[in-house]
Amino acid sequence: MNIQEYISSGVVESYVLGLLSAQERFEFEQFCETYPELKAARESFELAIEKQAMENALEAPAQVKERVWAAIQQKPAPKTSKIISMEPTSTKPRSFGWLAAASVVLFIVAGYFAYNYYNQNKELKTTNSDLQAKVNRNDSILNKMLEDQKMMMNPDVTVVNLVGTTPAKASANIYWDSTSADVYMVIKNMPKLPNGKQYQLWSIINGPGGQLQPNSLGLFDMGDDKKVILKMSNVKKADAFAITIEDKGNTGGPTLEQLQSMGKTKLQ
């Protein structure tokens, strides 16, 4: 911006005389902060107007001053300040006995409160660390649940319902992510097994000539602390999932006579 042009445009005078719009006024005030010469031009015109107005001042009507004072409910300043006397205060000695007694009482009371606060503080610290531990536990549970939740909400995940094939009605749902090959199993009903036995999850591919090709996705226990959701081994391709009962740590193939539940990945 050419500041000299702006100054001589009449904006300075318009500002001082109150003839600018709110927007123009705001701009002018902003420019005044940046350009000292603009501010100087403003001040020079202000002084000229003021001088001119003072030289041409009429006499204000006589009673207005008193009416102003009455309206602001103040009297004009008194001629002299009030004198506040600075007389010496009494020098009579005072008894300090009660003060000593009071300070002893105060000391005892303060000690009592300090002891109380110390105990309270200790208690609060214990409670606080208990709470912290509880929060940490809950946090890890919550994170686990959020992870599970995310898995279940994933649109790439296929849900396979494993239906019980025996009167024990062992059933579960398999959440199978066809992109990442992740397999999660949600237990619905899995009876407790005798010692030395474990459940085993299998993925099954329907091979050429009707030959079933099983692939172990992991053994799992159903103890008292059974988990509801289990992460099993990954599998890329499966036509069905099945659960059998096997000897603990089974490394061989599935014992199909012990098939507990089964579900197909595709509806046929």
Binding site: G10, E13, A48, E50, N56, A57, A60, P76, K79
Partner: protein
């Protein structure tokens, strides 16, 4: 109430900065000084807008009460104290002239017309041809009319454009030109 002695007391002189600080502390002496020093100049501008002296006195009273009450809204970075007070006085006078009570009162008064224009001039030139108004008489007719309408009657540029039937841009340019002329006459 004021006593004569107080009125006749020699006045303390303040510079503007001191005056503002003291006024912000609601200092009576400073306000007394402010009134004595500036009431005349402010009365002049009010009287140029409100020709009736009694009514102008009422406006002056209102203006000083407002200055006392609103002094903390005065911002020295935006202009001098007098400029601030002058604008308060001008606005209060314009508000008065526009108030219903004032207009009803004026119905029986003779109206002074601006020459060849049909636009009412704000006030009787005989009583108020001092200060700015006096300088205005040196301007040409058109400039005078525009300054009168905008400064003394408080019309916005838009209102003036509508009133005179000329484009807004022209009004703005002409007012600026008139104001620049005014500046050379004041300085």
């Amino acid at each position: 109430m004021l006593s004569f002695n107080q009125l006749l007391e020699p006045k303390t002189k303040y510079n503007e900065e001191q005056l503002v600080v003291l006024l912000n502390e609601q200092n009576n002496d400073a306000f007394n000084y402010l009134y004595d020093n500036y009431s005349g100049a402010l009365f002049t501008i009010i009287n140029q807008i409100v020709p009736d002296k009694d009514t102008a006195g009422d406006v002056l009273q209102e203006v000083f009460v407002n200055i006392w009450r609103k002094i903390n809204s005065y911002d020295p970075t935006k202009g001098r104290l007098f400029t601030w007070m002058l604008n308060i006085a001008r606005n209060a006078a314009i508000d008065k002239v526009r108030s219903k009570g004032y207009r009803d009162n004026q119905k029986n008064q003779p109206i002074i017309e601006g020459e060849n224009s049909g636009i009412t001039m704000s006030s009787n030139p005989e009583v108020t041809d001092v200060g700015l108004k006096k300088i205005l008489t040196k301007l040409n007719e058109e400039s005078r009319k525009l300054i009168d309408l905008s400064y003394f009657q408080g019309f916005t540029h838009e209102e003036i454009a509508k009133m005179l039937g000329i484009p807004l841009g022209t009004v703005k340019t002409r007012i600026r030109t008139a104001i620049i002329q005014l500046r050379t006459m004041i300085q």
